[in-house]
């Protein structure tokens, strides 16, 4: 009675074919990540130990640890976050909640998209011109972090904007009708309910910031420093640049050493991401609609 027609059967075959196709694509995507992690763990784990993490490089960087670079990366990322998160979130709130759709807003949106498309080496040169020379910060953490911050602003703005737009318009209207100002509505309803989406943007930004090399190599990161930075006006080592230097600039580096540095860099990013994801899961558990 419910006999499948020729067409039914064919549709089902096609459907299966596409399902498998998309599955394969997805697996293809995971493959490089898995291989990178496997190689780094395999080759890098031999050099990882507490003294590698907590001592300075020695013997012309062919031995010893990575402590100054590890601390330097944490400095760079933290200062960049302090700059780009408040600025990016504020800009996104303005664009999403206050701005009217006119030529001014459209120009700003265009500028943000273009900012996202600027190559990192161009950001680096801008950083040198603006922060190192014009503002006379010199090559230091502040100049490098500001350069990183500007580079990652579009990520923060776009993801925050998306998170804000995901809050139903009806919530805002209900608040306005009760006599709430736009700011009261943003503060009490819109921001608390978009915080997990905003965090997603910050996670992306942290990963990008920790790994970038070009923007910091002319603005604040040094090949080798025997001491830790004391303030944002000091130069610093950084994991990403240290890896680049070990891999290309220093003769006689043991083969496993760069793998160890790369492993630590990725582990650092993953730890920071996991913390943010855990926080997001906690917040999502409290999501209220």
């Amino acid at each position: 009675m419910f006999e499948a027609s020729e067409l039914n059967i064919r549709n089902r075959k096609v459907q299966r074919l596409f399902r498998i196709l998309f599955l394969l694509m997805t697996l293809l995507l995971i493959l490089p990540v898995a291989i990178i992690l496997a190689i780094l763990t395999w080759k890098g784990s031999s050099v990882i130990n507490l003294s590698f993490l907590f001592t300075s490089p020695t013997e012309g960087m062919t031995a010893g640890g990575i402590f100054p670079a590890l601390i330097g990366t944490i400095w760079l990322v933290s200062v960049a976050l302090l700059f780009s998160v408040p600025l990016g979130v504020a800009a996104a709130v303005y664009l999403s909640e206050y701005a009217r759709d006119n030529w001014f807003t459209r120009t700003i949106n265009l500028a943000i998209i273009n900012l996202a498309g600027v190559p990192s080496i161009v950001h680096a040169l801008f950083g040198v011109g603006a922060f190192v020379l014009f503002f006379k910060f010199g090559t230091c953490i502040l100049a490098a972090s500001l350069t990183l911050g500007i580079m990652t602003l579009p990520v923060v703005i776009v993801s925050t904007w998306n998170a804000l737009q995901a809050v139903p318009m009806a919530f805002r209207e209900a608040c306005w009708n009760m006599g709430a100002t736009k700011w009261q509505t943003i503060r009490r309803i819109v921001l608390p309910n978009s915080i997990s989406g905003i965090l997603t943007g910050i996670i992306l930004m942290v990963s990008q910031t920790a790994g970038e090399t070009a923007p910091i190599m002319f603005t604040g990161a040094a090949f080798f420093l025997p001491h830790l930075p004391h303030s944002v006006f000091d130069q610093t080592m950084a994991l990403s640049l240290h890896l680049f230097v070990l891999a290309t600039q220093v003769p006689g580096v043991p083969e496993d050493l760069p793998y160890g540095v790369a492993f630590v860099l990725i582990a650092l990013v993953m730890v920071m991401n996991s913390l943010s994801i855990a926080f997001r899961v906690y917040l999502r558990g409290k999501k209220k609609w």
Binding site: A170, F171, E173, M178, A180, R188, I189, K288
Partner: protein, 259 residues
């Protein structure tokens, strides 16, 4: 003809030749009538006749919508709403209930305490009194008094609509506007809310937008028929249903012979 008590009450809302437009396209024009204190003023009419736009004009929502603008004059408690010193204080005197219940993503308690908190009430004892009183006025207190800390969105549809009524009452408004409140509510809850409105009428003024002619008949003291962006007729509900209408379109609409 019976002289009805509402007609001797002072005018709460005086609407004079109001027109509303979005991006230059007029959706409502020539609206002129008075709404008196302690009356339920019904606004009936089919979809897209300008009813909701009219409500939005009353609490100056045009300020938050750049495309929306209105002309004409509306006085609330004797003062032109354009010259009202602060649009937020105007809105806090007008409670609004939407067609679909909008439970803010907060607990039942915080939903009702939201507006009073914004208005500066911060003592727990004061808020407790407001929350209980408003939930009781909205006929919801008995059902939720043991779960004030659950999320408003977890209540049933009918309970959520009463929650929004409680919220609309939380600032002791002088005027309550309801926009087709019973669309998503079961008949039993609708009847409960209607009883609530009849009670509230003793204290405040109510504007009731509805597309249910019989609901207007049950509740409204006077009513206006909106049709295609115009006010066809304003009159006393009883008389209109008794057949004393001037316009044939009103008669057709009340008899249900209309699109």
């Amino acid at each position: 003809m019976v002289s009805l008590p509402h007609s001797v009450n002072p005018v709460k809302l005086a609407v004079d030749d109001v027109a509303v437009s979005y991006s230059g396209k007029t959706v409502l024009k020539g609206v002129t009538f008075d709404i008196h204190e302690h009356e339920i003023f019904g606004i009936i009419g089919p979809a897209n006749s300008g009813k909701t736009s009219f409500l939005k004009t009353l609490n100056r929502m045009d300020i938050f919508n750049p495309a929306m603008s209105f002309t004409g004059r509306i006085s609330f408690s004797g003062q032109d709403i354009r010259t009202w010193r602060n649009v937020y204080s105007l809105r806090s005197r007008i409670g609004v209930v939407f067609p679909l219940p909008v439970g803010l993503p907060l607990t039942v308690y915080e939903n009702v305490a939201f507006a009073p908190r914004l208005a500066g009430v911060s003592r727990k004892e004061d808020l407790d009194i407001i929350v209980e009183r408003c939930l009781a006025r909205a006929a919801l207190w008995d059902e939720v008094k043991d779960r004030l800390e659950t999320l408003g969105s977890l209540l049933s549809g009918g309970q959520q609509q009463r929650l929004t009524i409680a919220r609309a009452l939380s600032q002791d408004p002088e005027l309550l506007m309801l926009d087709e409140f019973s669309i998503a509510v079961d008949p039993v809850t609708t009847m409960r809310i209607e009883d609530v409105l009849k009670d509230l009428k003793k204290e405040i003024t109510i504007v009731l937008v509805t597309n249910l002619v019989q609901q207007a008949r049950r509740l409204a003291d006077r009513m206006a028929l909106f049709l295609d962006g115009e006010v066809v007729e304003v009159g006393v509900t009883e008389e209109m249903f008794a057949g004393h209408v001037k316009d044939q379109r009103t008669k057709d609409y009340l008899d249900g012979r209309f699109g």
